[in-house]
Symmetry: C2
Subunit: 121 residues, 2 copies
């Protein structure tokens, strides 16, 4: 049988929208999602889960109420559950998110940036 | 407050042992582990969980009883729970594993390649 690798950069060539996570893999009840980001996202939190950000290309800054972290290519960060955060990217960046299936991108906030959930690519 | 990114390649400079996963991050009850691999690993399976392989550097092949998949840099694969597999790398490769906390590297097999679990770096 032929098994196929999941190539992150190839998946990222398949769409252009920003702030719209696309599912590329599922592990148990967790999903791996790629997303393009640029500019400011909305302040939000996820009450029930941690959330992993991993930078594939470019650079992002995640602001917290008491500080921030900047991630370059090949760097990751775990945002603890319940912690308010606001991602920001000066230039377009490509990110891998890891979180439980069903997590909404804007967490406890409904905004124009709230994306459809569970969209596979 | 100052928050620090987790840099995968920097973590990989901190040890030389092969087939010995080191934890670099925890998300809920899941762990992210980096590991250096070369040569043949033991055939094994994880009865209770899927397992994610993501290649940071180099190339690995994961053999299954009915086929195989080869992963290059930036490629990932989810080995389904209960599926026998044997990772192999001709040259040393650097891998990120994602799986629940407590998963033993050799799964249902105890071998000389069974590594100490939950070692952070």
């Amino acid at each position: 049988m032929s098994y196929q690798p999941i190539n992150l950069r190839e998946k990222l060539t398949k769409f252009q929208e920003q702030w719209s996570p696309k599912v590329i893999a599922e592990m148990n009840d967790y999903q791996f999602k790629v997303v393009k980001v640029q500019g400011d996202f909305v302040w939000h939190k996820h009450e029930d889960t941690d959330e992993v950000f991993f930078v594939i290309k470019g650079e992002i800054t995640i602001e917290f109420r008491d500080g921030e972290v900047t991630l370059g290519e090949g760097e990751m960060f775990v945002v603890p559950k319940g912690m308010e955060h606001k991602p920001y990217a000066k230039n377009e960046a490509e990110i891998l998110l890891v979180e439980p299936k069903g997590v909404v991108n804007t967490g406890d906030q409904i905004s124009a940036q709230t994306a459809e959930n569970d969209v596979w690519i």
